[in-house]
């Protein structure tokens, strides 16, 4: 299903968001918004600030000492800066990184990690949750008989799906994926893309990608970021077929980047 995203209320909004790392500007007054239950594709050349953008959403940018931010990020209309308990924010936002990270513990413990840190210790509840997340990330059939295997011993593609399962373990309402397919094979990528299209019914997805075709396949809207600036954003087909700026057209057609 493809809900008409324009009918959905705004879920995530960036207002004049700027980020500096020391003296260098990583994001320059970014403003755009994402409706609920939609997939927003964020595309742009390497080093243009895409990953930084994700880190402002769950405030993990605060772990980088030299980073400073200006402007606002709003989730459901609430400014993330004003959320006093940062863990209640991170619980609602799932993150998947470019390189798969299996934590050095069993597959089961990997998926149960975040729920346990939130105080869930009931065995039956965790069992069910772990199974659901692994099913959602298309990993269940491959690991169901060896849930005690170390997460770090899985293959790259499996670890990436494990990372996805972990991100889903808190039922996030916003799922951020940072070039999730960079380290995995095309078949697995397609499998995960299918899963994400299904997950859209339950959550809003922010998809940072270098693959413009992946954005075209999946995203309802696309934001093009180049050299720290938001060049333009809009519905996917409009941006691909009829971009407002020449630069956008050239990037989306693979002429630079």
């Amino acid at each position: 299903m493809s809900p008409d995203s324009s009918m959905q209320p705004t879920h995530l909004e960036f207002r004049d968001l700027s980020v500096w790392y020391g003296q260098s500007k990583a994001l320059d007054e970014i403003t755009f918004s994402v409706p609920r239950h939609s997939v927003i594709g964020i595309v742009g050349p390497a080093n243009s600030g895409k990953s930084t953008l994700l880190k402002t959403i769950n405030r993990t940018l605060e772990f980088i000492d030299i980073a400073k931010t200006g402007g606002d990020v709003l989730v459901d209309g609430q400014n993330v800066k004003s959320i006093r308990n940062v863990y209640s924010l991170r619980r609602r936002i799932g993150m998947v990184f470019p390189l798969p990270v299996g934590l050095p513990m069993s597959v089961y413990d990997n998926v149960a990690y975040a729920p346990r840190r939130m105080g869930i210790h009931d065995k039956a509840q965790l069992d069910e949750l772990v199974e659901n997340c692994l099913r959602d990330s298309v990993l269940w059939d491959e690991v169901k008989d060896r849930l005690d295997l170390l997460g770090t011993k899985l293959s790259g593609g499996q670890q990436q799906r494990l990372t996805l399962a972990r991100a889903l373990s808190l039922e996030p309402e916003i799922l951020c994926l940072d070039e999730f397919s960079i380290a995995i094979d095309p078949v697995t990528t397609m499998k995960i893309e299918e899963v994400l299209m299904r997950l859209k019914e339950r959550m809003t997805i922010v998809l940072v990608t270098n693959l413009t075709q992946q954005a075209r396949r999946m995203a309802d809207a696309v934001a093009f970021i180049n050299a720290s600036q938001l060049i333009e954003w809009g519905p996917t087909e409009q941006l691909f077929n009829n971009p407002g700026k020449e630069l956008t057209g050239r990037y989306l057609n693979g002429e630079f980047g």
Binding site: T60, F63, D65, R90, M95, F97, G102, P104, A114, L150
Partner: protein, 302 residues
């Protein structure tokens, strides 16, 4: 038609090969040469100590200024001294290492802490002895004894534990931490569930090596209540715990130092006997550290 052989080496390649061989043999022979002094020292001490080593020597009292009897008092002193030192320095050093590696922002304050740690590591042990005397005894008014000696040793070994803890912690890849933070785990939860379980072996190894260092030191304790001779109770629990926290004490390293230079006519085997016991003790502790490392390398999880 030898010239057409595509694998015939050029003069440059021949030269390269001989230099490679030379480099390998030089480094190899120097490494082997290192074994010679170690083997000589151990053999010599073992041979000269052999007549003295016996069960009564280990468990007997020091008599006639060390010229006769055993080394029970110094042995117990060294044991309690190092244990006490460990109890003081391990928590402080490990916690400081955790702060510096996991929490401290990269700023002037943190860098000045690190400069302090490095400088502390470079201070000669005799200066630590004077510091202990000045700080704990003269300024704080504590009595010279087991506790103040252990505190002095703790100051001396603190940078070693901090550095080894930091190294162990930084061996855990950064992306594990980031994955946890993104899952909403706090820094402390991340340290407790991911960082410490996966660096425990390295931290433990550092702690064990500090025991070896503390057991062998003489300078820091000789001003701090380590004495030539004390009367040890012949039996009962006081035989096993001969010294109170504030009591003067005997210690192997100090015992060896005194009997070797201050007592004329000291039988050779008595000197080498205590040297061998001290050396064995330290090698034994180092051996444990190696075993721990070996065990943990085998179950490395990534």
């Amino acid at each position: 038609m030898p010239d057409s052989n595509p694998f015939s080496p050029s003069p440059y390649e021949l030269n390269k090969e001989s230099r490679a061989t030379l480099a390998e043999w030089t480094t190899f022979s120097i490494s082997v040469a290192l074994l010679i002094p170690v083997a000589l020292i151990l053999t010599m001490i073992a041979i000269k100590a052999a007549p003295a080593i016996s069960w009564p020597y280990l468990t007997g009292d020091v008599s006639r200024s060390g010229a006769a009897g055993g080394i029970w008092g110094p042995l117990m002193g060294t044991f309690y001294l190092t244990m006490l030192c460990l109890v003081i320095v391990a928590p402080i050093g490990v916690l400081a290492g955790i702060y510096i590696n996991e929490y401290a922002p990269d700023n002037k304050f943190t860098r000045s802490i690190m400069v302090a740690v490095t400088s502390l590591a470079g201070v000669p042990s005799i200066v630590h002895a004077l510091f202990g005397l000045g700080a704990f005894v003269a300024t704080m008014g504590m009595p010279k004894g087991l506790l103040t000696a252990a505190m002095t040793l703790s100051v001396m070994t603190l940078p070693v534990i901090i550095t080894s803890t930091r190294e162990a912690l930084s061996g855990v890849p950064k992306n594990f931490r980031e994955a946890c933070w993104n899952l909403g785990a706090s820094r402390w939860q991340t340290i407790r569930t991911i960082v410490l379980p996966n660096s425990f072996g390295g931290i433990l190894t550092g702690v064990i090596l500090v025991i070896a260092r503390a057991a062998g030191e003489t300078a820091p304790i000789m001003f701090m209540g380590a004495v030539m001779w004390l009367r040890i109770a012949p039996s009962g629990p006081e035989r096993l715990m001969p010294y109170g926290l504030n009591d003067e004490f005997m210690a192997l390293s100090n015992h060896l130092n005194l009997i070797s230079k201050d007592i004329p006519g000291m039988p050779e085997e008595m000197k080498f006997g205590s040297a061998l016991v001290l050396l064995t003790l330290i090698l034994f502790i180092n051996g444990i550290a190696s075993l721990v490392r070996l065990h943990l390398r085998r179950r490395k999880r990534w």
